[in-house]
Amino acid sequence: MDLKQRIAEVVETSNAEFMAQCYNLEGAPALGSMVKTKSKDYDIYAIVYSSSTHGIDPNRRIIARGQNVGSEADIYKANPQLSKLLSTDFRALIVGYNKGKTVLQYLPPLPASIYAFVYPCDMDEVRDFTQSLNFLSLLTDARLSVSPDEVITAFLRYASQSHPSPDDFLVKAGKEIAWLLSNDIRRLDSILKRLQR
């Protein structure tokens, strides 16, 4: 994995998810995109479900600074220290890992290592991972700080672009979700509406 591609580092970790701090301010991957990181012996795949930018020191409040400047960029230019005092981090839900060349769509035996580097997945990896959709139950069952349905639809729209026929992929994913949410028609309806292009 290339040094230039790494975007963040794991700063909080558990079996089901991790939080990563980005190297660049506001450099978090998009909601629903796929990232990978390392545990001891395997790569872990995860889907970004939230990101935030905040002060590194929780006791220091961020204040508005732009009343007399021309653009938002000028705020950073006039206050170069800000980029060192602010931080962007994101949370990602683990959806699988690889063991050798085999991709397994369930939780890994061990969490990602703390300080493990985080990389964005390229579209080939996303396509390979989404050949099977068994991991979707991890998403539908997840208890997240944001609506999991937003994350599911954002991910499926993003992943569909890695397939030769995005529509076919979305239809296949829609059927899988219909089966998973067969006892919750309102939720299923809401997800399917969000998937319509």
Binding site: R60, K77, N79, P80, Q81, S83, K84, L85
Partner: protein, 399 residues
């Protein structure tokens, strides 16, 4: 039970009444001070002689120009750098398990202009060896470094690390190095420290570091300055007291021994310089440059401490500079404009100093963690831990 706030309340009210009463005649003093400073330019040389011959019981600023003059703010260079340091300490604590002290120096580098950039760092240093814990003379005397002396040692280290930081700068930009507080080592004044202590901390310590800044100024424009927020000094008001004194030469002990009111100089006495310059200066302007006449400053040589006042949004601050900065018009203007700019960016206080403080600060929780780490490592090395019973009683609260 701790502080009985209800009992203190009536005393606070009495204090407020007293302050109100004093403020009424404060206004008269300000008006007279303004009138007096305006007349100085007419008899500047005469006043300088009067100050030189004066024997006062208070510090009188030396004049380097017309006392009442105001200097407008000039623009900052387009590209420049501000560096700053600040420090904090964990002092020797005889109630703890180990005899040591720690200095934590925070450093900040802020680059403005076409390539804005910033870097922060903090450097903790633990002092525990016998020869580090005291200052020693050639003839075997030693003074332990703790309490106020550790504060002075910290000031020296803040300056040393700041000089290191400036030394590492590769870019050919004007640099302003800011120190928090005074350039005058007040802690060494009147404490009757032995000469070897003063030599170690001032001559071979602080002043050696100021030498480095002066040398760095030959490489690129480099100014060093210290910033005092809400200063309590009255050196310039004391110039006016000398001016108003009817005795020639001025001699407080001879003419006014034991008097604290009713003297001619009391008509402006009690005013602070910041109050005077708050009236005199417009926003961004600085005062003339003055010399400090503190006895310790006699040892400063080329770094003789000069100072000026500058009016900011919310307050008048005192900026101290060595003589070689004061005598260099470009560096002086650079300090003036950079300090005002830093305060504008930092909501009234230089942003570089405020971030250096954030880097340096050692919180109560940090202290506890530090001492418990010391205990753990000593314990891991099978060294017996001995705390004082006072320390134990603070840790274990009982009824």
């Amino acid at each position: 039970m701790t502080l009985e706030i209800a009992q203190v309340y009536s005393q606070i009210e009495a204090m407020a009444t007293d302050v109100k009463k004093r403020q009424a005649d404060y206004r008269q003093k300000i008006d007279l001070a303004l009138q007096t400073i305006a007349t100085i330019s007419k008899n500047q040389e005469q006043l300088e002689r009067k100050i030189q011959n004066a024997r006062t019981t208070w510090l009188v600023a030396g004049l380097k120009g017309k006392a009442g003059i105001k200097h407008p703010l000039k623009p900052c260079p387009h590209d420049f750098m501000v560096v700053a340091s600040d420090g904090s300490q964990i002092d020797v604590d005889r109630h703890q398990s180990a005899h040591l002290f720690l200095l934590n120096i925070g450093l900040v580098r802020l680059q403005y202009g076409s390539s804005p950039d910033a870097s922060f760092s903090s450097i903790p240093t633990l002092y525990f060896r016998e020869d580090e814990m005291s200052i020693r003379s050639h003839d075997g005397r030693q003074t332990p470094i703790e309490g106020p002396l550790l504060g002075i040692k910290r000031g020296v280290e803040e300056c040393r690390f700041l000089a290191d930081l400036v030394d590492e700068i590769k870019m050919n930009l004007p640099v302003i190095a800011l120190i928090d507080g005074s350039l005058i080592m007040w802690g060494l004044v009147g404490q009757r420290y032995d000469d070897f202590v003063i030599d170690a901390l001032l001559i071979n310590g602080f002043l050696k570091q100021l030498d480095r800044f002066a040398a760095l100024n030959h490489r690129r424009p480099t100014a060093v300055a210290s910033y005092i927020s809400y200063p309590r000094s009255a050196d310039v008001v004391n110039v006016l007291r000398v001016q108003l004194c009817p005795h020639e030469p001025v001699d407080c002990d001879k003419y006014c021994k034991g008097k604290f009111e009713g003297r001619e100089c009391d008509s402006v006495g009690g005013l602070l310089d910041r109050v005077l310059f708050n009236e005199l200066l417009a926003h961004g302007e600085r005062s003339a440059v003055f010399n400090s006449s503190s006895t310790i400053v006699e040892k400063y040589g080329a770094h003789q401490v000069c100072f000026f006042y500058v009016k900011l949004d919310e307050e008048v601050a005192r900026v101290e500079i060595p003589l070689w900065v004061a005598d260099n018009k470009d560096l002086l203007d650079l300090v003036h404009s950079a300090v005002v700019d830093q305060c504008n960016r930092g909501f009234g206080y230089p942003v570089a100093l405020s971030e250096a403080h954030e880097q340096a600060v050692v919180t109560g929780a940090d202290r506890e963690q530090f001492w418990s780490l010391v205990d753990r490592v000593l314990n891991d090395n099978n060294l017996s831990l001995q705390h004082s019973l006072k320390q134990t009683s603070k840790r274990v609260k009982w009824i």
